[in-house]
Structure formats: structure tokens, C-alpha cells
């Protein structure tokens, strides 16, 4: 059987790769992709803990479920914002949008 820690290591690698993308990328969409990675890794963790530690319960699974839904919502809004920014600023570079007003 697969040891739990393997799952966790995979998810943590995914998480930190996401963090790297969040920190280092300048394209807003790339940043958003990184955020998706982070969320995804968190969802994996929820499921894994649920399955291995409390197999009789369903909380972890449900949290993953909700997490997926929330990330869908968040992505939708974020992309709406990004498109709007693109419309206003002409690009989607993080460096140019450090001010909320313009």
C-alpha cells in the first residue's frame, strides 16, 4: 500500500511549486495558475488525511469538494478582473498594477 507520506510529499511539492509561481511570475494568469496549483495540493491533502486517518468520515472529501467549487468561483471572478485590467492597462503584468486606483 502507498504510504501516506508519499501523497503528502507530492502535494507539498505541488504546493511550493505553486508558491514559486505565485512569487516569481509576472503574468497575472500565470499567477492564477499557480494559485490553482496551491489549491489543488491542499485538496489532495484533505482527501488523503480523510482517507488514511478517518476513513469512516467524509469531512475531508467534502472540504475538497467545496474547495473545488470555491476555486471555480474564484477563478471566474479573477479572470473577469484580469480581462478588465487588460482592457484598461493594456497588459497583465503584476508590476504595473500595484495601485488599486488609477
Amino acid at each position: 500500500m502507498i504510504p501516506m507520506s508519499h501523497y503528502l510529499i507530492v502535494s507539498s511539492i505541488m504546493f511550493f511549486v505553486g508558491v514559486y509561481g505565485f512569487i516569481a511570475r509576472k503574468n497575472l494568469l500565470a499567477v492564477l495558475i499557480s494559485i490553482e496549483l496551491i489549491l489543488n495540493s491542499v485538496e489532495i491533502n484533505f482527501s488523503v488525511f480523510n482517507r488514511y486517518l478517518y476513513p469512516d468520515h467524509l469531512e475531508g472529501m467534502f472540504f475538497s469538494l467545496f474547495g473545488i467549487a470555491i476555486s471555480a468561483a474564484e477563478t471566474a471572478v479573477a479572470i473577469a478582473i484580469i480581462i478588465n485590467i487588460y482592457r484598461v492597462a493594456g497588459n497583465i503584468d503584476v508590476r504595473h498594477i500595484d495601485k488599486l486606483k488609477h
Binding site: 508558491v19 505565485f22 512569487i23 516569481a24 499567477v31 503584476v94 500595484d98 495601485k99
Partner: protein, 535 residues
Amino acid sequence: MEWLRFNDTLHIDLGILLDPLSVMMLTVVGVVALMVVVFSIGYMKGERGFGRYFGLLGLFVFSMLGLVVATNIFQMYIFWELVGASSYLLIGFYYTRPAAVKASQKAFIVTRFADLGFLIGILILSSYTGTFDFAALTADNAAIAVGPQANWAMALIFMGAAGKSAMFPLHIWLPDAMEGPTPVSALIHAATMVVAGVYLIARMFPVFQFAAPDVLVLITYVGAFTALFAAVIAITQTDIKRVLAFSTISQIAYMMVALGVADVAASTFHLFTHAFFKALLFLGAGAVIHAVHSNEMSRMGGLRKFMPITHITFLIACLSISGIPPFSGFFSKDEILVAAFHHNPVVFGVLLLVAGLTAFYMFRLYFRIFWGAHHYDRPPHEAPPIMTIPLIVLAVLTCVTGFVVPVHIDWAIASAGVVAAVIGIVVAWRFYAKPSDAPARLAARWAGFGQAASHRFYIDEAWLWVTRRIIFGGISRPVAWFDRHIVDGAMNAIGSGTVRVSETIEPVQGGKVQSYAILFVLSVLLITLLVFVLC
């Protein structure tokens, strides 16, 4: 009546003390004040601030009487200060004249400085004796309780008295105080306020005698020196009021010497007689100034024809101050000379010399005003009766007060004094009664000395240097600079330091989400690490 209680033992009372000394002073203050007020009605007529003048005069007389009847040293200090303040206001009466303003400030600050000594003296004295009361202080056994601090206390109290009575080196304010209206000078700066110092020491005399005899020696020498010093300066002055001012200093110094040689009676007697003839001199000078509209001797001369009453009264006063019998000055001066002779021959010699000098400069003044050539655009006229009546009254008093107190006259010493005075008068007559080049020749021979004397031996300049250079330049300016730059600078540095620190750490919160993320993740990691390493 208890006015203010400090603690269980010390409290200020306000009361009235009547004893021969205070009654004598009351007489002097009352009479002179009355004469001066009457005289002023004529003198000040038409002046701006007529009402203010008499208001301030009233304030002064109130304070002076309060001082005289004080039952305790603190009450005296209170009125002492009030007298100083009303003197300040009266000297500065012509407040639009910068010289008057300067003079009033000088008078107040110099006496204030002296009063500081007075105050500290009171504090020392009271903390050892536990009382302010004159009666308790001067009781025979009280002085013993004082101890070794008594010398300090009494010396400081003498400093206060010296300030008020214009003893060297605190005399500088008095000549300048002549900027005030002349009747004011007569009242305050000749007859009453300036002798307050003498009065104070006479009041406290038992304490001096029993607890601090050394201070009496100090008083003697300071007095003798001041007498000589002021007399020498008086010879060279050309402003008649200045001459009278220095003469006042010299005469008060006489009284101080009398106190120093432990003859309170002689001192107060001289105070008594001096008050009248000096007031008379000042009022006479006032009448002259009123007629000629100038203080300078060179603008006067031959006035005896125009102002006969003033002339006669002035002459009486001059004779009296010179110590010619039978005028009052003769008796009181003689008393002092006798006391000094028995005490210390050197002091006696100085006083005798001063007596001669006094006669000389008084008659120099007299001859230059009332004799000699005259040239006036408009002939001066005699003062109105409201001004001459006080002169006459004072002149009469000058003639009779010498006989009020029965004195035993030591004729040997008295004749020495009279001879000195006569020599002085004769010399003055030779020099000034008719045109003569003797003064000029003498002045040329003693040029340096005369120069120094007419500049009052540069004492003013020395004080000015002290105040300008040391107090303003040496202390205040550095203090102000220090405050603005060092203390305030330190406070501002704390402020700007804070701003700088926040500017340095500002980019951390620079609105860049990614930077926040780095910081956030690293911090979480650090905390995780700490938690797991430590657990």
C-alpha cells in the same frame, strides 16, 4: 493680623509697629510726601498722565508707610518690593523717552538683584530663629540662637539694604533714576525710599550687633568708600540732578558708616535731617528746571535775580548739607563724625574729607546755577506759589530740625568739620562764583582722573558688560541656542529617526502581493521550524 502661614512656626503677619524709629520715619515720609505732592501740582501741571502720576505717587506712599510700620522682616520685604515697583513705575513715568525706560529697568533690576540677597538672608535667618518678627529677633536673647550662619544672613540682608540705598557697587541705578520727574526724585530717590536700607539696618541693629559684628565692619568700610567715591564723582557731573543724586549716595553712605560704627541714633538723626534738606534741594532743582527747561548747569547761571525764593531756600539747603551751623545738617553730621572718630581714625579722616568735598560740590552747583553770567532767550520766572510754599516749609524745617534732638556737641570735632566745609565753600567760590580758569587748569592737570570720575569710574560700563556679555551673551543666548538645537534637536531627532526607520521598512508593505507572499511563506516556515525543533 496673620496674612499667610507657612508652617507651624513661620508666618507672615501684617501689623503696625510704632516705636521712636518708625514714628520718626513716618514723620519724614509724611511731611516730605505732603510737600512733594503740593509741589507736584504746580510742577506737573499740563503734563500728560497727570492723574496717573498722582495715582502712582499714592501707591508709593502707601508702600513706603507699610514698609516703615512693618512688624516683621517679611512684611518689610513685601513693602520693600512694592516700593521698588512703584519707583520703577515713577522713574519710567515719561515712558516714551527711551532713557527713562532704560533707567527704570535698571533701577528695578539692580534693586531686584539686591533683594535676592535680602530674600536669601531672610530665609537663612528665619530658618535658624524660627521667626520673622522684629520684636522677637531684636530681643536681647534672640540673637544668640542664630549661630554661625548669622554672618551670612546679615551680610545678605545688608546686600538688600545696599541695593536700595545705592551703596557701592550697587549704586548705579540711582543717578539714572533721575530720569523720573523731579518731585519723584525728591521723594523717592532722596528722602524716603533710598534710606529704607538705612532704616532696615537700624531696625535689625541688635541682631547685627550681637550676632554679626563682622558685618558691621563691612558696612563701615563700604559706607566710607561709597561716601568718598560718590563725592568725587559729584564734583565732575554737570547735570544738576546727577550731582544731587551722587550727593544723596554720599550722604546715605554717611548714615551707613554711622550704623557701622554702632551709632544708630546719629545715623537716624542724619536720615531725619537729610530727608528735609535733600528734598528741599531736589524741589529747588525742580523749580529751576521748570523755569529753564534743562538739567544742564551750563544752561543756567545768574538765576538769583529771577528766582529769589528758590535761591534763598536752595542756599539754606546747601549750607545745611555742608554742615554749617546752625542748620540741621551740622548737628547730625557732627554726631556721625564724633562716632567715627571714636571708632576708627581712618574712617573719620575719610568722612572729614567727604565733608569738605560735599561743601565744594554743593557750592559749585549753587554758584553755577544762581551766580555768574546768564543768557536767556526768555527770562525765567519764579515758580508759582504752589511750588514755592513747599520750598519755604522745607527750608524752615531744615533750619529747625537740628534742634529737635538735644545733642552734645564735641566742639573740637565739630569745628574740624566746619573748617573742612568752609574750605570747600571758599574754593568753590573762588572757582565758580566769578569767571575763572582755575577749574579748567585743574581739570587739565587731572585729566585722566577727571575723565574717569565724570564717567563715574566706569562702574556702569562694568555692570553693563556683566549683563550684556555674561547674562545675555554668556548664558541666555547659549541657553536659547542649546534649547533650540540640542534639546529640541534631540526631540526632533527622535521624530525624524522614527520617520526614517519607517521609510526604510516601508517597501515591505509596498502593495506588492508577491512580496507579501514571500514574507508570509518564509515566516510560516520559520514558525513551523521553530515549533518542530523546539517540541
